[in-house]
Amino acid sequence: MEQVININGLTKDYKQVRALEDVNLKIPRGRIVGLLGKNGAGKSTLLKCLLDFLHYEGDVAFFGKSLKEWKYDLHTRVAFIPDVSGLDPRLTVQQTIDYVAGMNPTWNADKAERLFAKSELPRNQKVKTLSKGMKTKLYLLLTLAKDVDVLLLDEPTLGLDIVFRKEFYDLLLGEFFDESKTVIISTHQVAEVENILQDVVFIDHGKVKLHQAVDILKKDWSIVEVSADREHELMAFNPKATSRSLGKVRGLVEGDIILSDATIAVPSVSDIFVAVVNQ
């Protein structure tokens, strides 16, 4: 499988604080990757380093070419939506559309017209008057109309209500994603995105804790439930997390498990994420 992004030994320091430490990742084409971590884990920093927005040590390559060779033309193939609605509040919606259209040789005018016609965004209104949801939607539509190969999303739906969040991911999957595209979604709201993710990268304290395909991950982990009096049997499998309720003990266990009369269920990505980052 073709590697779209190749990260080798990426380290980033903010003065005395190490934000990223020796990050090594290979992201293949045609995947939706969740970059999952707690607040301050280093997710945003990693995405910003990928786009050369920050000084860093190590090497990042897109499509087999180092970031240093790409310069600004990388943005014809890679788009980024930051964690805050970072559009210019002084421009109107139409002025913002015209700006992005004028700057991007890959701008697809027909697609843009179709997307914006459906969106009902008020084109003559200044960006500063839009709600956060509308700003995020505008940002996404601008990005979708650019026809890029890779999309990096940094907490894109933070602070949005459930309607906007659903619309956002529907648009992303319906209008952007196919087997030739790659999406990296950074978020700490794991439950929100786990149904659309194909791969996950768990990041904690600037280090990659796990990089795995979701289907393999779910095969590798199990939630085992036994009655409270058999807790010692469960503990023998060294569960990464346990909880007790209604006379039962549940444990998240890695690897195959054979335990008679136990209930075994497939864990969610959120369960595994919590277990891994709390190890």
Partner: protein, 271 residues
């Protein structure tokens, strides 16, 4: 070409008010002056008269030069005050990553910002000057007994050129300051130059004036060029353009732009 055009349009849209504010101020002053003139004319004030209004065509040229020079000072002050916004505003508004995510060379972006910062208002000044010259020419039919639009426009143009020289040197300097300082760029930049000037003076004293340290502010002014008051009576292209020092001004402007871009490029990554 499309990118350059888009950058110019967007830069204008983003900072529209800062370009127009000085124009509204000088327009207000002009309206007040014309009203005063009208009142004086109605009441037949004996003091009413124009400089060089002894029926000569030069009066309008000199008058318009003075008007443009005065208006230019208002524009120059606004240009200096808006220095902070040139390279910092996007970051302050949190939209810098949006602009940096576009496939465009930073040198192109800063070139457009530089041109707009230094010269955008000058077009408004010229436009206003032409309208003012026309009004003054019409007024001069009554007060100077002649319609000397050509001379008025010539004076406008000379005044505008003088403003351009000021804008070139001090606009470029303020643009450079905006790359150095994220906040209070003009104040910090001028304070920095003042401290440097003071250090030079101290060094001269220490060495008992045996070495000549450069005088920064004097050097800046000399690039713009100076003229004596007596020269205003014969104001013409040669006087306005001055001597070869304007070439140093052009070089200085180029250095300010290049330096600002390099600093901006480096500092942009320093989030």
């Amino acid at each position: 070409m499309n990118q350059i055009k888009t950058l110019f349009i967007a830069e204008y849209q983003k900072r529209k008010s800062s370009y127009w504010w000085p124009l509204w101020i000088v327009a207000g002053l002009t309206v007040l002056s014309l009203l005063a003139l009208l009142v004086a004319w109605i009441i037949n004030s004996p003091d009413i008269g124009m400089y060089g209004s002894d029926g000569s065509r030069e009066g309008l040229r000199i008058g318009m030069y003075g008007v443009m020079f005065s208006f230019g000072m208002v524009f120059a002050v606004f240009m200096a005050l808006s220095a902070q916004s040139s390279l910092n505003r996007e970051k302050q508004l949190g939209s810098d990553l949006f602009f940096r995510s576009q496939p465009v060379c930073t040198w192109k972006v800063t070139a457009v910002k530089y041109v707009m910062h230094v010269f955008a208002s000058s077009l408004l000044l010229l436009g206003f000057g032409i309208i003012f010259a026309l009004i003054l020419s019409i007024v001069s039919v009554f007060f100077a007994e002649g319609f000397y639009l050509g001379q008025a426009l010539y004076g406008t143009f000379l005044g505008w050129l003088t403003y351009l020289k000021v804008a070139l040197v001090f606009g470029s300097l303020s643009f450079f300051f905006s790359s150095l300082f994220k906040n209070n760029a003009l104040i910090l930049g001028m304070a920095g130059l003042g401290i440097l000037e003071g250090l030079f003076a101290i060094i001269e004293v220490i060495f008992r004036h045996s070495i000549n340290m450069p005088n920064i502010f004097e050097s800046l002014v000399s690039m713009v060029g100076t003229m004596g008051l007596d020269e205003i009576d014969d104001i013409n292209m040669a006087i306005v353009m001055g001597n070869y020092r304007i070439l140093f001004g052009l070089l200085f402007a180029g250095l300010c732009y290049a330096g600002a871009t390099l600093i901006y490029k480096y500092r942009a990554k320093d989030i």
